[in-house]
Protein backbone atom coordinates (compact mmCIF):
# COMPACT_ATOMS: atom_id res chain seq x y z
CA UNK A 1 0.00 0.00 0.00
CA UNK A 2 1.47 3.39 -0.94
CA UNK A 3 2.40 5.66 1.94
CA UNK A 4 -0.54 8.02 1.95
CA UNK A 5 -3.30 5.53 1.37
CA UNK A 6 -3.63 4.76 5.05
CA UNK A 7 -4.71 8.32 5.78
CA UNK A 8 -8.26 7.84 4.42
CA UNK A 9 -8.45 4.58 6.35
CA UNK A 10 -7.42 6.30 9.55
CA UNK A 11 -9.98 9.03 8.98
CA UNK A 12 -12.67 6.37 8.48
CA UNK A 13 -11.54 4.71 11.72
CA UNK A 14 -11.95 8.10 13.38
CA UNK A 15 -15.56 8.04 12.20
CA UNK A 16 -16.10 4.69 13.90
CA UNK A 17 -15.78 2.46 10.84
CA UNK A 18 -14.71 -0.94 12.20
CA UNK A 19 -14.17 -2.27 8.69
CA UNK A 20 -11.64 0.47 8.11
CA UNK A 21 -9.81 -0.60 11.26
CA UNK A 22 -9.50 -4.11 9.85
CA UNK A 23 -8.19 -2.71 6.58
CA UNK A 24 -5.76 -0.47 8.43
CA UNK A 25 -4.58 -3.44 10.41
CA UNK A 26 -3.95 -5.45 7.25
CA UNK A 27 -2.07 -2.54 5.70
CA UNK A 28 0.11 -1.65 8.66
CA UNK A 29 0.48 -4.61 11.02
CA UNK A 30 3.79 -5.70 9.53
CA UNK A 31 5.27 -2.26 10.14
CA UNK A 32 3.80 -1.91 13.62
CA UNK A 33 5.06 -5.34 14.55
CA UNK A 34 8.47 -4.49 13.14
CA UNK A 35 8.78 -1.40 15.33
CA UNK A 36 7.67 -3.36 18.39
CA UNK A 37 10.08 -6.21 17.70
CA UNK A 38 12.85 -3.70 17.31
CA UNK A 39 12.03 -2.07 20.62
CA UNK A 40 10.96 -4.99 22.78
CA UNK A 41 13.25 -7.72 21.45
CA UNK A 42 10.60 -10.28 22.07
CA UNK A 43 7.99 -11.63 19.69
CA UNK A 44 5.47 -12.46 22.39
CA UNK A 45 5.68 -9.00 23.96
CA UNK A 46 5.50 -7.40 20.52
CA UNK A 47 2.32 -9.32 19.72
CA UNK A 48 0.73 -8.32 23.00
CA UNK A 49 1.59 -4.67 22.62
CA UNK A 50 0.50 -4.68 18.97
CA UNK A 51 -3.01 -5.58 20.05
CA UNK A 52 -2.93 -2.58 22.35
CA UNK A 53 -1.70 -0.36 19.53
CA UNK A 54 -4.77 -1.05 17.40
CA UNK A 55 -7.10 -0.69 20.32
CA UNK A 56 -5.54 2.70 20.96
CA UNK A 57 -5.84 3.56 17.27
CA UNK A 58 -9.54 2.75 17.51
CA UNK A 59 -9.94 4.91 20.58
CA UNK A 60 -7.80 7.88 19.55
CA UNK A 61 -7.97 8.08 15.75
CA UNK A 62 -10.33 11.01 16.15
CA UNK A 63 -7.36 12.96 17.50
CA UNK A 64 -5.34 12.44 14.33
CA UNK A 65 -4.89 15.72 12.47
CA UNK A 66 -3.60 15.35 8.87
CA UNK A 67 -2.29 18.90 9.08
CA UNK A 68 0.18 17.85 11.75
CA UNK A 69 1.79 14.98 9.87
CA UNK A 70 1.33 11.81 7.92
CA UNK A 71 -0.79 8.94 9.15
CA UNK A 72 2.28 6.72 9.04
CA UNK A 73 4.24 8.95 11.39
CA UNK A 74 1.24 9.25 13.71
CA UNK A 75 0.99 5.48 13.83
CA UNK A 76 4.74 4.97 14.23
CA UNK A 77 4.94 7.35 17.19
CA UNK A 78 1.80 5.89 18.76
CA UNK A 79 3.40 2.46 18.44
CA UNK A 80 6.61 3.67 20.02
CA UNK A 81 4.59 5.17 22.85
CA UNK A 82 2.89 1.84 23.58
CA UNK A 83 6.27 0.10 23.57
CA UNK A 84 7.63 2.74 25.94
CA UNK A 85 4.68 2.15 28.27
CA UNK A 86 5.49 -1.54 28.24
CA UNK A 87 9.15 -0.87 29.01
CA UNK A 88 8.33 1.57 31.80
CA UNK A 89 5.89 -0.84 33.37
CA UNK A 90 8.80 -3.15 34.05
CA UNK A 91 11.98 -1.29 34.93
CA UNK A 92 14.25 -4.32 34.88
CA UNK A 93 12.92 -5.30 31.47
CA UNK A 94 13.64 -1.78 30.26
CA UNK A 95 17.18 -1.89 31.64
CA UNK A 96 17.83 -5.19 29.91
CA UNK A 97 16.52 -3.84 26.62
CA UNK A 98 18.61 -0.71 26.96
CA UNK A 99 21.68 -2.85 27.56
CA UNK A 100 20.93 -4.90 24.48
CA UNK A 101 20.47 -1.78 22.41
CA UNK A 102 23.64 -0.26 23.81
CA UNK A 103 25.83 -3.25 23.08
CA UNK A 104 24.54 -4.11 19.66
CA UNK A 105 27.45 -3.56 17.23
CA UNK A 106 25.40 -1.49 14.77
CA UNK A 107 21.88 -1.07 16.04
CA UNK A 108 20.42 0.45 12.92
CA UNK A 109 20.75 -1.97 10.08
CA UNK A 110 21.43 0.16 7.02
CA UNK A 111 20.42 -2.70 4.76
CA UNK A 112 16.96 -2.78 6.26
CA UNK A 113 14.09 -5.06 5.41
CA UNK A 114 12.60 -5.48 1.98
CA UNK A 115 9.44 -3.49 1.28
CA UNK A 116 6.58 -4.39 -0.94
CA UNK A 117 5.59 -1.09 -2.51
CA UNK A 118 7.49 1.49 -4.48
CA UNK A 119 6.69 4.49 -2.31
CA UNK A 120 7.94 2.80 0.82
CA UNK A 121 10.98 1.42 -0.93
CA UNK A 122 11.98 4.89 -2.05
CA UNK A 123 11.39 6.60 1.27
CA UNK A 124 12.93 3.80 3.29
CA UNK A 125 15.97 3.73 1.06
CA UNK A 126 16.32 7.49 1.38
CA UNK A 127 16.26 7.21 5.16
CA UNK A 128 18.73 4.34 5.12
CA UNK A 129 21.07 6.28 2.83
CA UNK A 130 20.94 9.17 5.28
CA UNK A 131 21.71 6.77 8.12
CA UNK A 132 24.61 5.24 6.24
CA UNK A 133 26.06 8.70 5.62
CA UNK A 134 25.68 9.69 9.25
CA UNK A 135 28.58 9.49 11.75
CA UNK A 136 28.22 6.38 13.91
CA UNK A 137 27.88 8.34 17.14
CA UNK A 138 24.90 10.27 15.77
CA UNK A 139 23.25 7.13 14.43
CA UNK A 140 23.74 5.34 17.73
CA UNK A 141 22.36 8.19 19.80
CA UNK A 142 19.27 8.29 17.60
CA UNK A 143 18.82 4.54 17.85
CA UNK A 144 19.12 4.58 21.63
CA UNK A 145 16.65 7.45 21.91
CA UNK A 146 14.03 6.08 19.57
CA UNK A 147 14.27 2.29 19.75
CA UNK A 148 16.19 1.86 23.01
CA UNK A 149 13.64 3.92 24.88
CA UNK A 150 16.31 5.87 26.77
CA UNK A 151 15.99 9.53 27.57
CA UNK A 152 18.78 11.75 26.28
CA UNK A 153 19.99 12.13 29.86
CA UNK A 154 20.11 8.34 30.27
CA UNK A 155 22.01 7.99 27.02
CA UNK A 156 24.55 10.55 28.20
CA UNK A 157 25.07 8.56 31.40
CA UNK A 158 25.31 5.20 29.70
CA UNK A 159 27.78 6.24 27.02
CA UNK A 160 29.64 8.57 29.39
CA UNK A 161 29.15 11.61 27.19
CA UNK A 162 28.01 15.11 28.18
CA UNK A 163 24.27 15.65 27.82
CA UNK A 164 24.66 18.66 25.49
CA UNK A 165 26.78 16.51 23.18
CA UNK A 166 24.11 13.80 23.10
CA UNK A 167 21.41 16.38 22.37
CA UNK A 168 23.48 17.85 19.57
CA UNK A 169 24.07 14.43 18.05
CA UNK A 170 20.39 13.57 18.07
CA UNK A 171 19.33 16.98 16.81
CA UNK A 172 21.90 16.89 14.02
CA UNK A 173 20.94 13.34 13.05
CA UNK A 174 17.26 14.20 12.93
CA UNK A 175 17.93 17.39 10.97
CA UNK A 176 19.72 15.35 8.34
CA UNK A 177 16.92 12.84 8.24
CA UNK A 178 14.21 15.45 7.97
CA UNK A 179 16.04 17.19 5.13
CA UNK A 180 16.29 13.92 3.27
CA UNK A 181 12.72 12.87 3.99
CA UNK A 182 11.44 16.28 2.89
CA UNK A 183 13.26 15.88 -0.42
CA UNK A 184 11.31 12.73 -1.31
CA UNK A 185 7.96 13.41 -2.97
CA UNK A 186 4.90 12.06 -1.22
CA UNK A 187 3.41 9.01 -2.92
Amino acid sequence: MPSNEIQPLLLRVADGDAGALAELYDATAVFVFGILRRMLWNTESAEEVAQGVYIQVWKTARGYDPGRGSAWSWLALLTRGRAMDRMRADGSYRDAIADLALHQPDPIDPAGPPRSDAAHIQRAETVREALRAMPGDQRRALELAFFGGLTQREIAFRIDTPLPTVKTRIRTALTRLRERVASVPQA
Binding site: R37, Y54, L77, R123, R128, Q152, R178, V181
Partner: protein, 75 residues
Protein backbone atom coordinates in the same frame (compact mmCIF):
# COMPACT_ATOMS: atom_id res chain seq x y z
CA UNK B 1 1.35 40.20 16.29
CA UNK B 2 4.30 37.81 16.41
CA UNK B 3 5.89 37.69 19.83
CA UNK B 4 9.69 37.34 20.06
CA UNK B 5 11.00 33.82 20.57
CA UNK B 6 12.39 32.99 23.97
CA UNK B 7 14.31 29.89 22.96
CA UNK B 8 17.05 29.70 20.37
CA UNK B 9 16.29 27.53 17.35
CA UNK B 10 18.49 24.76 18.73
CA UNK B 11 16.76 24.91 22.11
CA UNK B 12 13.39 24.81 20.43
CA UNK B 13 14.37 21.78 18.38
CA UNK B 14 15.74 20.05 21.48
CA UNK B 15 12.42 20.63 23.18
CA UNK B 16 10.50 19.48 20.11
CA UNK B 17 12.52 16.27 20.02
CA UNK B 18 11.97 15.78 23.74
CA UNK B 19 8.25 16.34 23.22
CA UNK B 20 8.07 13.78 20.41
CA UNK B 21 10.12 11.26 22.37
CA UNK B 22 7.90 11.85 25.41
CA UNK B 23 10.77 12.76 27.69
CA UNK B 24 9.89 16.31 28.72
CA UNK B 25 8.83 16.83 32.31
CA UNK B 26 5.77 18.97 33.02
CA UNK B 27 7.77 22.17 33.15
CA UNK B 28 9.59 21.38 29.92
CA UNK B 29 6.34 20.55 28.18
CA UNK B 30 4.77 23.83 29.25
CA UNK B 31 7.83 25.76 28.07
CA UNK B 32 7.74 23.92 24.77
CA UNK B 33 4.03 24.57 24.20
CA UNK B 34 4.49 28.25 24.99
CA UNK B 35 7.39 28.53 22.58
CA UNK B 36 5.46 26.59 19.93
CA UNK B 37 2.59 29.05 20.29
CA UNK B 38 5.01 31.96 20.07
CA UNK B 39 6.57 30.66 16.88
CA UNK B 40 3.29 29.94 15.17
CA UNK B 41 3.30 28.28 11.76
CA UNK B 42 7.10 27.99 11.38
CA UNK B 43 7.31 26.28 14.76
CA UNK B 44 4.55 23.85 13.82
CA UNK B 45 6.31 23.17 10.53
CA UNK B 46 9.52 22.30 12.37
CA UNK B 47 7.61 20.00 14.71
CA UNK B 48 5.87 18.35 11.80
CA UNK B 49 9.15 17.76 9.97
CA UNK B 50 10.77 16.26 13.07
CA UNK B 51 7.73 14.04 13.64
CA UNK B 52 7.89 12.92 10.03
CA UNK B 53 11.61 12.17 10.27
CA UNK B 54 11.08 10.03 13.38
CA UNK B 55 8.15 8.24 11.78
CA UNK B 56 10.09 7.50 8.64
CA UNK B 57 13.07 6.36 10.71
CA UNK B 58 10.84 3.85 12.46
CA UNK B 59 9.33 2.56 9.25
CA UNK B 60 12.64 2.37 7.43
CA UNK B 61 14.68 0.46 9.96
CA UNK B 62 12.24 -1.63 11.96
CA UNK B 63 12.37 -5.24 10.82
CA UNK B 64 9.03 -6.30 9.39
CA UNK B 65 7.78 -9.78 9.99
CA UNK B 66 4.56 -11.66 9.49
CA UNK B 67 1.99 -10.99 12.13
CA UNK B 68 -0.21 -12.23 14.38
CA UNK B 69 -3.70 -12.59 15.75
CA UNK B 70 -6.74 -10.81 14.37
CA UNK B 71 -8.22 -8.03 16.44
CA UNK B 72 -11.70 -6.87 17.17
CA UNK B 73 -12.80 -3.25 17.25
CA UNK B 74 -15.11 -4.13 20.12
CA UNK B 75 -12.18 -4.89 22.47
Amino acid sequence: MIRPAVMSDDQFEDHAIGHLLRELDERGEIAFQEELARRGAPGHATLRELREALGQLALAVAPAEPVMKPISASE
